[in-house]
Symmetry: C2
Subunit: 338 residues, 2 copies
Amino acid sequence: MVQKVKLSTIADSLGLSTATVSLALRDSPLVADATRDRIKEQARALGYIYNRRAASLRTSRSGIIGVVVHDIMNPFYAEILRAIESELDRNRQTFILSNHYDSVEKQRNFIETLLQLGGDGVIMSPAIGTPKDDILLAEDNNMPAILIARTVDDLDVPIFRGDDAYGIALATNHLIGLGHRVIAMVGGTDQTSTGRHRYEGYVAALEKANIKVDSNLRIPGPRTKQAGFEAAVNFLSLPQKPTAAVCWNDLVAIGLMNGIARAGLIPGKDVSVTGYDDLEEASIATPSLTTVWNGQSEVGRMAARALLDKLNGSSEADGLHLIRPEMRIRQSTTPLKP
Amino acid sequence: MVQKVKLSTIADSLGLSTATVSLALRDSPLVADATRDRIKEQARALGYIYNRRAASLRTSRSGIIGVVVHDIMNPFYAEILRAIESELDRNRQTFILSNHYDSVEKQRNFIETLLQLGGDGVIMSPAIGTPKDDILLAEDNNMPAILIARTVDDLDVPIFRGDDAYGIALATNHLIGLGHRVIAMVGGTDQTSTGRHRYEGYVAALEKANIKVDSNLRIPGPRTKQAGFEAAVNFLSLPQKPTAAVCWNDLVAIGLMNGIARAGLIPGKDVSVTGYDDLEEASIATPSLTTVWNGQSEVGRMAARALLDKLNGSSEADGLHLIRPEMRIRQSTTPLKP
C-alpha cells in the first residue's frame, strides 16, 4: 500500500501550520501568493494527491473524537454533550472537549490539535463566522466533521439541529391563542443561524395572525440567565407595554422571570413568558416555564451515531437533519387579563 | 542522554495496560501474583528505573493538559474550569476535558488516554474512591497531577480546595444569629470529602452554640437543583418543623427554594435557606440567595498556575492549599418570626 502524503507532512516540511497548507491548496485569499506557490510546489514534490473519497477510507483509528461548541458550561450544550458522551462511551471512544467562545481562531487551534493527536472525527457547533474551509480542513485530513445546533452554508457534511423557525412559531402562536397582542422577543443575535431563524419565525407567526410587527419590541442580545435578568428593566419600560415575552432560550426566560419578580411583578400572572429548549430546570423554575422542547438529547445521539457511521464508511447522513420541536405548556403563561 | 524506559514501553511489550504495570511495580494486590512477577521481570530486562525526581524533569512538551472532574456541566466545576482555561490559554496550552461521573474506571481511562497523547499534566477533582495509585500512575509517567475541590489522603501533590468546615460554619452561625434553632442540613454525601467536612462543620457550629444536634434533621443525598427541588417535600414534612435549611451547595438551595415556593410557602420569608459556592446565578435567584463564596475562580487559577510551575521544575506548591470562604448575605435568610 502506498504511504499517503498528509497535509501535516507538507506543513511540517515547510514549518507552516496545517491550516495554512490546507487554505493554500484551495487557493484561499487568506494566504499570501508567494507562500501559496511555495506550498503547492512542495505538495507536488512530495506527491500529495487531493482525493477526498480515498481519504475517507481510514485504515486505523485512535479512538479519539473531538467536540467543540460555543460554551460547554451552557446547559443547552451540556445536554447535547451528555447524549454524545453516552453514545460514544458505549462505543468505547474517548471524547475530548473544548469551548470556542465564538472565536474562529480558538476553534481552528482545536481542530489542528485534534489532527495532531490523530483524532478520528469532530463534532462541532461552529463559531460565529466559521469559514467553510475550517471544516474542510478536518475533512481533508480524513477527520469527518458533524455539525450540531448551527449551520454553515454550502457544506455536504451531516448537520443536526432543531427547526428554529417552526419552534418559535409554536411559542408565539401559544401566546396569541391566550389573547396576547403586544408580544416582545427577548434575546438572541442575528450573527447565529438560530438567532436569525427564531426572530424570523416570531415575525412570521405575528404576521400570520395579522398582528403588526413592531421592531422596537425586539430586545436582541441576551443569551444567558444573567443577561435575561438585566433585560427585565428594558422589557418593563417599553412604551408599548408588552403583556408577554417570547424568549430566545430558557436561560434568558428564567433570568427575565427573576428580573420581573425583582421588580415586584409576578411572572406567569402579570406577564407571560415563554422559553426555548426545555432544559431540565425549566420544569422546576418558579413559575415552571412554558417552553419549546428542542431535542438536545436527540441532536447529540444522532450526531454521535452519524459520526460512528461515517467512520465505518457510510455517508448516508450527509446534509441537514431538522428535529421537530414540541410545545411544553406550564405555569409561566396565562390568558391576557381583560 | 540515556533514553528513558517508560511504563508504557513495558506495558506495550507485554500487551498490558500502563495502569496494570504501574500497579504491579508498586505491589498492588489488584494485580495477580503471576502477572506481577512477569511485569517485574520485563521491567528489569528493559532496564526500567523508578526515579520520580528524575522523571519530573521533562525534555519536551506536547502542550496538552487534561482536566477531569465529576461533571463539567455542574456550574461549580464550570466556574473552576473557566478560570483554568483562561490561565492555560494565556500560556498557549491546549486543554482537554472529561467527566468521570465518579467512576474510578472512567477516570483511569482518561489518564491512560492522556498518557498516550503525551499530555503534559492533569488537573483532577478525584472520583469517589480514587486509589492513590491512580494519581501516582500519572506522576510516575512524568505527568504531574494537581487535585482540586476534593482530597485524596497521603499524597504529596498540590491540592487546592475551599475550607469546607469553616465555610459551612459561617452559614450555620449566620442562621443562629438570626434566631433560628431548628436548622436542617440538606444535601451532600459522606462519600466525598466535601460532604463529610461540610456536615462536620454544621454539627460543630450547632454544638458551639449549645444547640442539640438532631441527626434526623439531616437530609443527605441531593447534589443537584432537581434533587433539591424534590427534597422540599421531605424538608417540609419533618416533624421537628425546621425554620431554616443549610444546603450543601447553591444548586440544592435553589432547587429547595423552588420546591418550597411550589408548596405555597415563601422562601426567604417563611423559611430561611443558605447555599454554598456563590455561583453566578445565586445573586439573580428569586429570592437572591444567601450563600458562602467558595473561591471557584481562585481554585482554578491557582491550580493552573501550580501545574505550569511544576512543568517548569518547581514543586513549591505541593501539599494542601485551603481557600478561605466568605459569607454573602442576601434575601433568602431573615430573622426567625417571633
